[in-house]
């Protein structure tokens, strides 16, 4: 079986997505973004080269971190563009179909879930809050050379327990931050902390939270983040967003 020369890449699903914002907008393959409508829903898509973005080409591309970065950023940019104007459910990277009809079939099959997801994110956006340990715990004084095995063990014990309780305090602070922000948010999720290789930050990430916030409460949310950062000098708190509601518009037929 030979692949067709074009495949359809899905960026997001929403309602009534067509508008002036699509003029000149491009996607992962430099292609023009367009809208496929079905059953009151709309998918933001682009026609990509199926050689470059078919199974084999895509695999090669995504295995290369530089190419993956470009594709991920362009995929995100297309979603962010539309999310500035409409509630959308972002599609996971590399959701590809043979043609528009196949997109329609897939969207129609999950129509109710999409509508529920879109209702949930309407008028709301996602904010990210990450907290790192500032390592503000005082450095341990260099222990004097232990005079005996017992003295060494005691020093070691003291060092470990100081470290433990200090970690515990930092983790508790992060929980407090998350709890406070969850009160302002409509929904909240704690994601896995990012590895320093990915975050580009050598400090230990303790909180990687996502918060779905009503747009009219966005300012209150940002103020709360700043206040919490002041209250918790043991944490470096970072606010990102607003994001399209990646963490909250969930439709899953993986199984």
């Amino acid at each position: 079986m030979t692949e067709p020369s074009v495949a359809v890449w899905v960026y997001a699903v929403g309602v009534d997505l067509d508008g002036p914002w699509l003029a000149g907008a491009t996607g992962v393959d430099g292609e023009s973004l367009r809208v496929v409508s079905v059953s009151g829903l709309a998918a933001l898509v682009g026609s990509v080269d199926s050689g470059r973005f078919g199974a084999e080409g895509l695999r090669r591309r995504l295995d290369d971190l530089d190419q993956l970065e470009g594709i991920a950023r362009r995929h995100h940019a297309a979603i962010a563009l539309i999310a500035a104007h409409r509630p959308v459910a972002p599609a996971r990277l590399a959701t590809l179909y043979a043609d528009d009809d196949r997109v329609r079939t897939a969207v129609r099959r999950h129509r109710d879930e999409f509508l529920a997801a879109l209702r949930n994110v309407a008028g709301r956006l996602e904010w990210g809050v990450k907290a790192y340990s500032t390592g503000s715990e005082p450095d341990q004084p260099t222990p004097s050379a232990p005079t005996s095995g017992t003295a060494y063990l005691r020093q070691r014990q003291a060092l470990l327990s100081a470290r433990n309780s200090s970690w515990q305090r930092v983790v508790e602070s992060a929980h407090a931050v998350h709890d406070r922000l969850s009160e302002i948010a409509v929904e909240a999720r704690e994601h896995r902390p990012q590895d320093p290789n990915l975050s580009g930050d050598r400090r230990s990430m303790i909180l990687n939270g996502a918060y779905l916030v009503d747009n009219e409460h966005a300012e209150e949310f940002a103020t709360a983040v700043a206040t919490l950062a002041d209250e918790h000098p043991e944490l470096a708190v970072e606010l990102t967003g607003p994001w399209p509601a990646y963490s909250f518009a969930v439709v899953d037929d993986e199984q």
């Binding site: 495949a7 997001a12 995100h76 962010a80 500035a84 996971r92 590895d195 994001w243």
Partner: protein
């Protein structure tokens, strides 16, 4: 060349308008969240899942998280080898995954 997210000036709320998002933030969102609908290019979907596993391992080293007293990933089948073994054949058995540690 990369395209940074830019909100249109007419946007009521500028999505991603604060500053260029960092790669980690974008990757974890586009690979690990959002809508999963099964596409036509099944083989690439499987590849993506494997790639996602690699990136998940990169996103949080289990030891680091455990050290921090954070354990919610324990419920994530992709991150526990015992759970991975219970997956149907053909999934989670990518030899590259074991042999090719992320740098």
């Amino acid at each position: 060349m990369t395209i940074e997210p830019r909100a249109s000036s007419s946007a009521p709320v500028g999505v991603g308008s604060h500053e260029p998002a960092n790669l980690g933030d974008i990757l974890e969102r586009v690979l690990d969240r959002g809508v999963v609908i099964v596409g036509d290019i099944r083989i690439s979907l499987l590849d993506i899942e494997l790639l996602t596993v690699k990136l998940r391992l990169l996103i949080a080293s289990v030891d680091t998280a455990r050290e921090l007293g954070i354990d919610w990933w324990e419920h994530d089948p992709w991150l526990t080898s015992s759970a991975r073994k219970s997956l149907p054949p053909g999934r989670g058995h990518d030899p590259a995954l074991e042999a090719d540690p992320d740098d």
